[in-house]
Structure formats: C-alpha cells, structure tokens
C-alpha cells in the first residue's frame, strides 16, 4: 500500500515537474526580446530614413523636383501657369490660360485658389529641395563629392526659382532653408533682400 502511494506521489511529482517545465518554457518563449518584436516594419512603402543614401536615391529625388514643377505649374489641374507670374516681374497678375476672370474674386477668406496655385506648390518645391540639400551632407551617404555638388546645385536651382516666384508675388516671405521635420507655426517673413543674399547668392 505504502509503495503504491509512493509511486503515485512520485508520478505526480514528475507531472508537477513537467508542468512547471512547460510553464517556464511558455514564459520564456513569451518574454523574449520585446523591442525586437515591436519593431516597426513598413512593408508597402519606403521610409525616408532609408531613402536618401545612394546616388540613385538622390537622383530620384532630383527627378521629383522636375516632376513637381511640371505637375504643380503646367499640368491641367495646376490651373495657373505660374511662370507667367514671375516672368512679368511685377505684382500684376494675369491668368495666362485666357479665361476671363478677375483674380480679385478669389482673394477672400473662402477661397484658397491663389494659395493653392502659387504659395503651396512653391513651398512644396522648396521643401523637396531642402530635403536633398540637407540629407546629402549626412553621414553614411554613399556618393562622391562631385555628385554631391551637382545634386546640391540642381536642388538649389529649384529652391531659388520658387523663392523668386514667391518674392515677386508676395514680397517678403518666410525663408526656410532646412527640411521641416516637426510642425511649426512660428514662421516670420524675411526681407526680400535676404532671399537674394541667402538663396540666390549661395
């Protein structure tokens, strides 16, 4: 009788050991590297962090400047042919698509036509150029100095062009020469001359 009880006790101890083992195992499996498990893994887009490193990356970014310029100012939905504004070099506005319209109608609190035609696209270009000019100097970028100079020059052209457009239309405008990485509301207008010094003459 005693023997049987002992056997039973032994068996259940074994079971208990196994159970404890299983519990420990499960806890172990579960509590592995938390940071690794929670790592953010984009699967259908590239993040900016890995997209400004090689020559091809920067070349594609430069291509985008041309694309935006065409898309915003020349495509059918970029309704206003903006270059007409700055070629005229005055504050006179006209709608070069020959649609009889008075721009004055659009300058009111309910319309963002002018904003969407010039201000927003110009700053879009400036941003894209700033991204290139900023990121090309970062550590780990795999391009030669000649290529760097070339890309910077090309980006500066679009940036200068955009500021010229803005300055001719608005006069003093905020001058942003770095990639905006966090939201800001504290922009201030800088004198037109500053843009000539800072943007055109660098």
């Amino acid at each position: 009788m005693k023997l049987i009880i002992n056997k039973l006790l032994y068996a259940s101890t074994l079971k208990l050991r196994r159970v404890s083992f299983i519990i420990c195992l499960l806890m172990m499996i579960s509590s592995c590297d938390e940071e690794g498990f929670l790592e953010l893994k984009p699967v259908d887009f590239y993040s900016a962090d890995v997209s400004y490193i090689t020559y091809d990356h920067f070349e594609s970014a430069i291509h985008n400047l041309y694309y935006i310029f065409r898309e915003e100012f020349y495509s059918p939905h970029g309704a206003v042919q903006a270059p007409a504004l700055w070629v005229a070099f005055t504050d006179m506005l006209y709608y070069s698509q020959n649609i009889p319209d008075d721009w004055g109608n659009y300058i009111n609190p309910y319309q963002n036509f002018v904003y969407n035609s010039v201000w927003r696209p110009a700053y879009h270009l400036i941003y894209e150029a700033n991204v290139i000019i900023d990121r090309i100097d970062e550590e780990g970028v795999e391009i030669t100095d000649d290529q760097r100079t070339h890309f910077k020059a090309e980006a500066s052209l679009f940036r200068g062009l955009s500021y010229a457009m803005l300055a001719h239309l608005y006069g003093d405008v905020p001058i942003i020469l770095e990639e905006t990485t966090s939201p800001r509301r504290d922009f201030v207008r800088a004198p037109v001359l500053m843009y000539i010094n800072k943007v055109l003459l660098i």
């Binding site: 997209s51 291509h63 985008n64």
Partner: protein, 1093 residues
C-alpha cells in the same frame, strides 16, 4: 449542515409519498447506543425517517432498552423518557424531533404558513428563534407553530431560498413568503482573461439578457441586443448582411476608432462580427467602466464586448437542435417616388416665371408652355410625347424582400469531454436588386479533460459569406420617368438620363459580373492546467490564429465605352495571438477570497492585398478570370500590406472579505509597434471597490434583498493611430521622361514623421449601485460615469510653408458623462402565468474641453475651430449654422427687392442674430446637437402556459434640441443647376410654390447661394419603435414524448413593426433624410421552428 441533509432527505421522501402503517411494531433491544443510533435502527427496520438538528441536547445520550412489539409512539416515548425532547409525526412517515420545551413552555404562540413566491406551501422549512437552536419545521401544508417570547425574532429558512429575519413584535400569526436564492449572483461571468462571480464584480459589467440571445434573432449577433443593454448603442442596418455599428457610452475620439473591442472566447476578435453565427452564442457581456476595461489596456477606451460561444448543449447528454425561420420583409418606411404625372407637374413648376403668366401673379399656367423643352434628350421627349414612362424602381428594386436561415447543431456533454458542432445557413434578399447576402457557418468547439488537472480544448469556426452583385438602388430616384430603358429595337439604351457617363442600370445592375466573397477561418487551441498540490492555482495558455480572405472581382462589360473593364482584388488578413494566464483563486478562513491573475501575451497581425485591373476587351466571356487579354496599355497592378505587433502584461488582484467588502486592482502594460519609440509602452492602471451593504448585520430591511455600492477609477487607451504614422513616408514612381524617352524614377517624402504619437487615454470614474428589491421581484443597477479622454489624435492644421498642411498629434480633451439605469422585474409569477418586464435608460453628454490650445482672439478662452465645427466647451456634436426662421421669401419680396443676396424667392429667411441688418457668418450659432439626449427601452414578456409573448419598445429621444438631423431637400436640389428636372423626386413633398407660400421646404431649383450661406433646416429624429414582437409556443412534454422529441417550439417574430416619429426621411435611427441615396430599414414578419431531438 446535517440539518440541510435532512431536508434533502425529506424532499426525497416527500416524493415517495406512501404512508407507513401505524400498526407496524418494532423490537428495540439496544445496549449503550446513542439516541441517534437508535433512530438509524428504526429507519432500517421501517420506512420512518427522522428529522432533527444535531445540536439538540439529548441526542447523544446513551440509552439501554429492551422492549418488543412496540408501536412507533410507544418506542419513541420510551426512547425520550427523561430527555428534554419530543416528537411530532408528519405525513409521509416523517418524524420531526424537537426540544420538548417548545411544546411544553408557556409563552407566546406564533403560527403561520411559509410559502414560495408562487404561493405554494413550503413543507420542511425551518423556523428558529434567533440566538438559540430552538426551532420548528413546517408541515406539508407549510404550517408551523412555535412558542416563544413575543419580543424574540424568528429566522425563516429553507434550502435554496433566501433566509428572512422577522421580529415577532407580539404578533401571533406571521405568514412568510420565501424567495429563491439569487443564484444569478453566484453565476460566473467572463471579465477578460478570467471570470468572476457576479456578486464579486466591482466594475460596471452588464450581462445581456440570456433569453434574447437564445432567441437569436437577426443576421448579426448583436442585433438581438439592440436597445437592451443601457450604454451599448447598436445601430440600425438597412442593407443585407450589413454590420450594425456599435459604441459604448459616449464618443471619446475625434479622429480615432469609436467601436468597442470585441473579445470572443477570451481572444480579441479582429474580423467582422457578422461572421459569427448568432445560434452559436452562449452569452454576451459588456464591460463599460474604465476599471473593468483596463484589463484590455490600449484598445479598451471604447468599452469591451465579451462574447462566449456554446460549449455544449445546455443539457447533459446528446442534443440535436434544428432551427429554421423564414422572414417576409418589406421596407419599414420608404420615401415614395413621384408618379410620371407628378413629375411632369413638378418640372412644369420648376421656373414659374417661365411657365406661368405674370398677369395671374404666377398662379396660372401659360397655355402654350411646352414642357418638352425641359427634357434632356430627344429619346426622353419622344417617351414623353408617347406617354411611355419607365418604372425604374421596378428595374433596380426588389419586388420581394425575404430572409431565411437554417441551423443544425449537435452537442454532447459527458464526464470528461464536451463538444458542440454546428452548421448554419443564412440568406437575405434586401431592398435593391443584388442587395443580397448569404452565409455559411460551421463551428466546432471541444473541451476535454485529459486528467483531473489538465484540460485542453479548441474553439474553431469557418464562415463564408457572399455579398456579390452590384446594386444601384438610388437609380430609382436619379433616373427621371421619361428616361427610356429600351430602344425601339428592344435593346437597352446606353445613357437614358443623357447626363455624363450614366449607364442604363439594365447594364450596370444586370450585366455586371460582380463577386464579393469573404472567408473567415478561426481556431483557438487552449490548455488549462490546475497545478497539483497548490489549491487554486491554475495556468492557461492559448494560441489562436485567424485567416480572413476577401475577394472583390468584377467585370463590367459596359465600362470603357462598352469595351469592358475588369478587376481582381484579393486581400488576406492573417492574425495570431498567444496568451498565458496564471490564476490563483482561493478562499481563506471562509471569508477572505483572493483572486490573483497574471498574464502575458502577444499578437501579430498582417494584411496584404493585390489588385489587377484591365480595360478594353475584345471578347467578354472570360471576364475577370483573364485580365491579360485586355489592352496591354490598360493593365494595372497594385499591391500593398501592413504588419503590426503588440504585446502585453497585466496583473489583476481581487480581494473580497465575507462577500461584503470587495476590491479589484488591475494594471496593464501595452506595447504596440505603431507607437513611437518614446511611447512604445503604455501603462493602464485601475482600481475599484464595492461594498455589499445587505451582507452587513445592521442592514436588515425586508424589502431590500441585495444592495451593492461600487466605485471605480481607472484609465484605458484607444490605439487609434495609424500603424505607420510615426515615420516619414516616401512615395515614388516613374514620373518623368528624359531626352531618350526613358521613364525615370522619382520619389519624395509624402508625410512628416510624428515621432511622439501615442494612444488616446480615457480616465474616469464610475459610481454604481446593484440592487435586488421586494423579494427578488426587482433587480437592476444604476451607474453614473465621468470620463476624460486626453491626448486626442488630431490632424492639426499647420502652415503650408512646412510643405505639409496637417500634422497628426495627440492633444486636447473630451469629457463624457452619463447615467445608465437597468431594471428587471417579475410582475406576476404564478404557475400558469408569468409577466416580467425590463427597462433601460441611458444618457450621455460630451464636451470638448480643449484642443489646440491657441487663443489668437485674446479673449482668454481657447479659439473654436469653426470650419471643423468644433467648439471649446461645447458638445462635439454641436450644429453650428444660421437660425432658420422657417418662413420663406415670397414673390412680393422678390419684386420689391427685399431679398438679401443670400436668398431668393421661395428660400428660407435667416435670422439676423446680431441685428446688424445683414446676414453675415457672425449670425451663425449653435442651434442644437446631432447626438441623442437619452435612450430608453421597455420590454415585457408574458408567459401563459405554453405561450410566450415578448414585446419590446425601443426609443431614442432628443428633447428640444438634441438628436437633430438635417431635414431639407438639399440632397435633391441642384442649387442653381437643372438636375432636378432630370430626377425623380419623392412624392407628396410640401415644396414652395406661389400658391403654397407657407411650405415646409424651399422651392426646387434654389439658386446657387455661396455654400457658407446655405440655408439649412433641422428636425428632431426622436422616435419610439415597436422593435420586437415575439410570440412563441412550446409544445407539451406529453405530446413530445409521444413523437419522441425533446422540445418543439414554433414562433413568430415581428421586427420594426411600427415607428412613432416626426422624422420625414427614410428612418430616424439611420438618420437618412429625404434623399435619393437612402435606404429603408426592414420590417419583417418571421416564422420559425426550433426542434430539439
């Protein structure tokens, strides 16, 4: 305890019911036995049974007897000689032993009858003088008699019933009705990663009416709960297979998810709720307050709905259950279409200056006015001339709406295992042609005890659902009656309306090959180990995986100028989750109840989709199954996906002292891949206490059976942010061409990183009562909650100088508070007739406390976001617009030039609030709120013999300025365009005309006022609805045995039978106003049968 056993024994004997002969004699020859042992001897020799309390003095006295041929009376007299005991003989050979003093004592005699709630006497119930062991037992008629001091207190008790303490106060007759013990309070319910007895709950947790769930009405699981759980708001549906919207308590988020977390069998459920078969559901609990949901941390701010599926039939053994119903459906309320005659009369009035004579004041029609000039195409003019209208409603709407479903389940419960297998089929045909839904459900649940300490099991299901078919219900309104469907040669016209690229619905509805199918596969494996040697310690681990596939293919032969277009789109969700839960539950020293739960788990979710598309097919037969034969330059491919991971740890501690003082504390730590590095983990603590006052000795109020006060405080989160919002995204493509005509790849940043994004946090307290009153006739709960949600995810406007115009950030604060009442009562309960009622009430108010925090106006108060309709210190559902006087500008005003620029003749007159003589945006104000003021529902259930009738009224009320809906014809008006001429309007509209100056609605063809001045009109959506009427009949057991069935029930269920409302649109609850795109909700008459073998 012994006494209890005696009572059980008694009840067994009571059934046997035979009388043992008085003349039977015994031989008593005992030497030094106790009195109790002698009783046993007698019991072994006869059918007499003795009922006594172990504590009675003298029962353990040793006796020595040797007497023969004694009758029972003689034997007992001899036995009790010298002892202070006496006996009384009841029917059924039961002999009750009582202390002799009870019957001998001089004193106050109290008599009475003890009955149950139904009035039936309770034989064998115990009456004891408080503080003593002295007592009496009722006889078969429930009568008792006891002699005691008139100032004593009597305690009445019976097994399975609640004890009652009644002071005698000199009375000589006390009749008592005992109520059954509130077993519900000991019922164990799911609270997330574990269970708890209802009496131990410290948070606001409501269990949905079991009977409603068992009636499993509706296509979706939650439809049968519509309106029955206060605080759980379930939306109306108006399409076949539509998922009702769900929300718990108020809106806590501006941009984020508003739906509660769904947990099925303790696993977070990511699919569509409609994939669950209502017949497979055992119970549904709703966790509402911040403390009870805190166990689900960063996903729980909108509450949690816990669903438990069937484990096996409710009865032991094998059960085969077949349920079938067929429902005749119709629109509960439709916006009628105008007839061709009405249409012609209306468009004739479109421009009264043109169609009527000036001399008559534009009241008389011009005799020579030609209406055909208003029609758009020559085909339309021809159809008008030939008076050959087309009934488009007949083309796009179903003549007959119906639904039917069949369910077969098989379950078995044995000692070591139980399983449940079911198969279900549902088919719904809705309002519009191709508005159809069909679903197959299969489920297999198994629980198996391998040893007494090791259980394993599985919950699994497969659902396929089919939403195929392109429907075009709104075409009934969009197409005018004289737009011809057929050409003279009998072929379909292509563009009957003559507008844009509108295609004849005969093509779009009937010739499109449209496939929209979903598949849901779910499996959850678990193991449960009750750790041996440590009482109360158990460990549970489970692994669940879920595949959900959705296919959306179509081939439209009529698209691309009848050359055809096709798409094949497949999406696949794959989730897995793993939970490990360690639980320790024990009671120490009978009063200290401890329940500790620790958990750790993780989850991974993946989604991927691909889409192939092509246009211009020279042959159409293969459709979307051979897209590559489409024109090569029209081929398009697209693919995408996402991955997210999350993990959690939690600890929950419960301590209960003597069922009186209860305390629960939880803390959960949540990590989510979508949270930024700085905020990778969130911590969500909560604490709750409760005090069951009725367990206190001083709380002895007759009418109050149970009262518990709960107070809880805690915080929970709403993940809500996008999976990838924290990183800067890039997008690219071949966007430009170089001099050699090569495509060049271009890319740029499309969103700014928001490196601090995190969850929205809802913190609040809940104060509640649970009560049971009046002999358990009324039970219910009242809850008040007060929550603040902070760190709202909001797309903040930023200057375009940054390139991006919005930036997602966590800021602001919304406040929600509300009251919920839930009560159930037993009004009448007799053997043949029962009447029970339920009542719910809920009310919620929200307020936007702060958002961006800017004060540019310098008034010391944060600026309102007028354009977004958000006002600080106001409800987020505020309606901000001009005050509509309800009057209209008339022709006289027009001719006398009194109409300001915002209006025209036949348009609403706006109120000049600031009295500056003109209407400017400053004249706008908050005219009311779109959210409900309060909701209530009343349910009554009557049972008479085999009949059962259930009537349920549901209501949402707005009071004077809540629950407002836009009620104007702006959806049908074209604001200066002429589309009204080319549409079918609703019939019988009270629209302005010169002869109808005081109309409800503005005239058709209202001029193009700038949007910011657009006149609106709002009407209350308040309604009361006879939502459910259910009559069922259960066949007699007698009949069932004859036909070899376990149970047979036939029923009729009517839903949405009648609605009392002033809302003129499609439906007040869906909020669809009079427009072309609305759909009616369904009124149904459903007949069903439920057979159990």
């Amino acid at each position: 305890m012994k006494l209890l056993l005696c009572f059980i024994l008694f009840s067994v004997l009571n059934v046997s019911g035979s009388i043992f002969s008085q003349s039977t004699t015994f031989d008593l020859a005992v030497n030094g036995k106790t009195v109790k042992e002698v009783f046993k001897d007698i019991e072994s020799q006869s059918q007499y049974r003795f009922l006594y309390n172990d504590d009675f003095p003298g029962l353990n006295r040793l006796v020595t007897l040797s007497s023969y041929n004694l009758t029972i009376n003689e034997a007992l007299d001899e036995l009790f000689e010298g002892a202070n005991l006496t006996y009384r003989e009841l029917e059924n050979n039961l002999i009750v032993i009582t202390p002799a003093e009870l019957f001998l004592q001089d004193g106050h005699k109290v008599v009475g009858i003890i009955t149950d709630a139904g009035g039936d006497p309770l034989p064998g119930a115990n009456v004891i003088i408080e503080g003593t062991t002295i007592g009496a037992v009722t006889n078969v008629d429930g009568n008792y008699s006891i002699v005691t001091d008139p100032n004593n207190t009597l305690v009445f008790s019976f097994i399975g019933y609640e004890s009652q303490r009644i002071p005698i106060n000199g009375r000589s007759e006390i009749n008592i009705t005992l109520s059954p013990t509130i077993e519900q309070l000991d019922e164990v319910i799911a609270i997330g990663y574990g269970t708890q007895r209802r009496r131990d709950l410290t948070g606001s947790v409501i269990q949905a009416d079991q009977e409603m769930i068992q009636d499993h009405y509706g296509t979706s699981v939650v439809q049968s709960l519509h309106g029955t759980v206060p605080g759980l708001n379930i939306g109306q549906i108006n399409q076949a297979g539509q998922e009702p919207s769900l929300s718990i308590r108020g809106q806590t988020s501006l941009a984020g998810v508003g739906a509660p977390l769904i947990v099925v069998d303790d696993v977070i459920f990511r699919g569509n709720l409609i994939d669950l078969n209502p017949h497979d559901i055992e119970s549904i609990n709703v966790l509402k307050d911040a403390s009870s949901v805190a166990i689900y941390g960063s996903q729980a701010a909108n509450g949690v709905v816990m669903i438990t599926t069937m484990r096996s039939g409710r009865e032991e053994g094998i059960t085969l259950d077949y349920n079938s119903s067929y429902s005749f459906d119709s629109p509960a309320h439709s916006i009628g279409l105008e007839s061709p005659e009405e249409y012609l009369a209306r468009i004739r009035n479109y421009d009264v200056f043109d169609s009527r004579t000036a001399e008559s004041g534009y009241l008389e029609p011009k005799p020579d006015y030609d209406i055909s000039q208003l029609l758009r195409t020559t085909e339309q003019i021809e159809a008008y001339r030939n008076n050959n209208p087309t009934d488009w409603a007949n083309v796009v709407l179903n003549e007959r709406m119906y639904s039917h479903n069949h369910n077969l389940s098989f379950s078995n419960r044995s000692e070591n295992s139980r399983y449940y297998v079911s198969l279900g089929y549902t088919d719904v045909v809705g309002y519009a042609v191709n508005d159809e839904y069909s679903r197959w459900n299969a489920r297999f649940n198994l629980d198996n005890s391998i040893t007494d300490w090791f259980d394993i099991g599985v919950q699994s299901f497969m659902t396929t659902s089919d939403y195929s078919g392109e429907s075009a219900h709104s075409q009934a309104y969009i197409l005018p009656p004289f737009a011809p469907a057929f050409r003279e040669d009998g072929s379909y016209t292509t563009n009957p309306r003559g507008v844009g690229a509108d295609i004849n619905p005969y093509y779009t509805v009937y010739e499109t090959d449209d496939l929209n199918k979903r598949l849901n596969l779910f499996g959850n494996l678990y193991a449960n180990i009750s750790v041996p040697f440590i009482e109360g310690l158990s460990f549970r681990t489970n692994y669940s995986t879920n595949y959900r596939k959705s296919d959306r293919h179509y081939f439209r032969p009529w698209d691309s100028n009848f050359q055809g277009s096709g798409q094949k789109r497949e999406g696949l969700f794959n989730d897995w989750s793993q939970d490990n839960i360690l639980n320790y539950l024990n009671t120490f020293g009978r009063v200290h109840r401890v329940d500790l739960t620790l958990g750790y788990g993780r989850e991974k979710r993946e989604y991927s989709y691909s889409r192939a598309y092509s246009e211009i097919f020279s042959r159409h037969e293969l459709g979307y199954n051979r897209l590559q034969i489409g024109s090569a330059d029209m081929h398009a491919v697209e693919s995408g996906g996402w991955v997210e991971t999350s993990l959690y740890n939690f600890a929950r501690f419960f301590y209960g002292y003597d069922n009186k003082y209860l305390l629960t504390g939880t803390i959960r730590r949540d990590g989510f891949s979508g949270f930024s590095e700085e905020n990778k983990f969130g911590l969500f603590p909560s604490i709750a206490t409760a005090w069951t006052i009725t367990e206190e000795d001083f709380m002895n109020i007759n009418w109050l059976n149970f009262l518990k006060i709960r107070v809880s405080y805690g915080s929970s989160g709403n993940r809500t942010i996008g999976r990838y919002d924290i990183v800067a995204k890039l997008d690219g493509g071949y966007r430009i061409i170089d001099g050699d005509k090569r495509s060049l790849y271009a890319h740029g940043i499309t969103s700014m990183a928001s490196p601090n994004l995190k969850w929205e946090t809802t913190t609040g307290y809940n104060f509640g009562f649970d009560f049971v009153l009046l002999d358990n006739r009324i039970e219910g709960s009242i809850d008040y909650y007060n929550n603040n949600t902070t760190d709202l995810l909001y797309e903040v406007d930023i200057p375009g100088i940054s390139r991006f115009e919005v930036f997602p950030d966590n800021l602001g604060k919304i406040h929600n508070q509300g009251l919920e009442i839930n009560a159930n009562s037993i009004n009448v309960s007799t053997e043949d007739f029962q009447w029970t009622s339920s009542f719910t009430f809920s009310r919620n108010r929200n307020e936007l406390k702060e958002l961006l925090g800017f004060d540019t106006t310098g008034d010391g108060k944060e600026d309102d976001l007028v354009a977004e309709g958000l006002f600080i210190g106001e409800s987020i559902d505020a309606i901000y617009t001009y005050v509509n006087t309800g009057n209209l500008w008339q022709l006289d005003d027009y001719f006398e030039d009194r109409i300001p620029s915002y209006g025209d003749y036949g348009t609403y007159i706006l109120e000049d609030l600031n009295g500056d003589g003109e209407i400017t945006p400053d004249d706008r104000t908050i005219i009311g709120y779109s959210s409900p003021s309060y909701r209530f529902s009343v349910g009554n259930r009557f049972k008479y013999k085999n009949w059962s009738l259930y009537v349920f009224l549901n209501s949402v009320q707005g009071g004077s300025n809540y629950y407002l809906g836009l009620d104007d014809l702006s959806a049908m008006n074209d604001f200066g365009g002429t589309m009204e001429l080319n549409r079918t309007w609703a019939t019988n509209l009270d629209v302005w005309l010169p002869e109808n100056p005081n109309a409800t609605y503005q005239r058709q063809g209202v001029h193009n006022v700038p949007a910011q001045f657009r006149q609106t009109r709002h009407t209350s959506r308040s309604f009361i609805r006879l939502q459910d009427l259910r009559l069922s009949y259960n066949f007699d057991r007698e009949f069932l045995t004859r036909v070899n069935l376990n149970s047979l029930r036939v029923y009729f269920h009517g839903s949405n039978l009648f609605t009392w409302t002033d809302w003129p649109g499609w439906d007040p609850e869906t909020g669809d106003r009079i427009n072309m795109y609305g759909r009616p909700i369904t009124k149904s008459y459903s007949f069903g049968v439920d057979i159990k073998f």
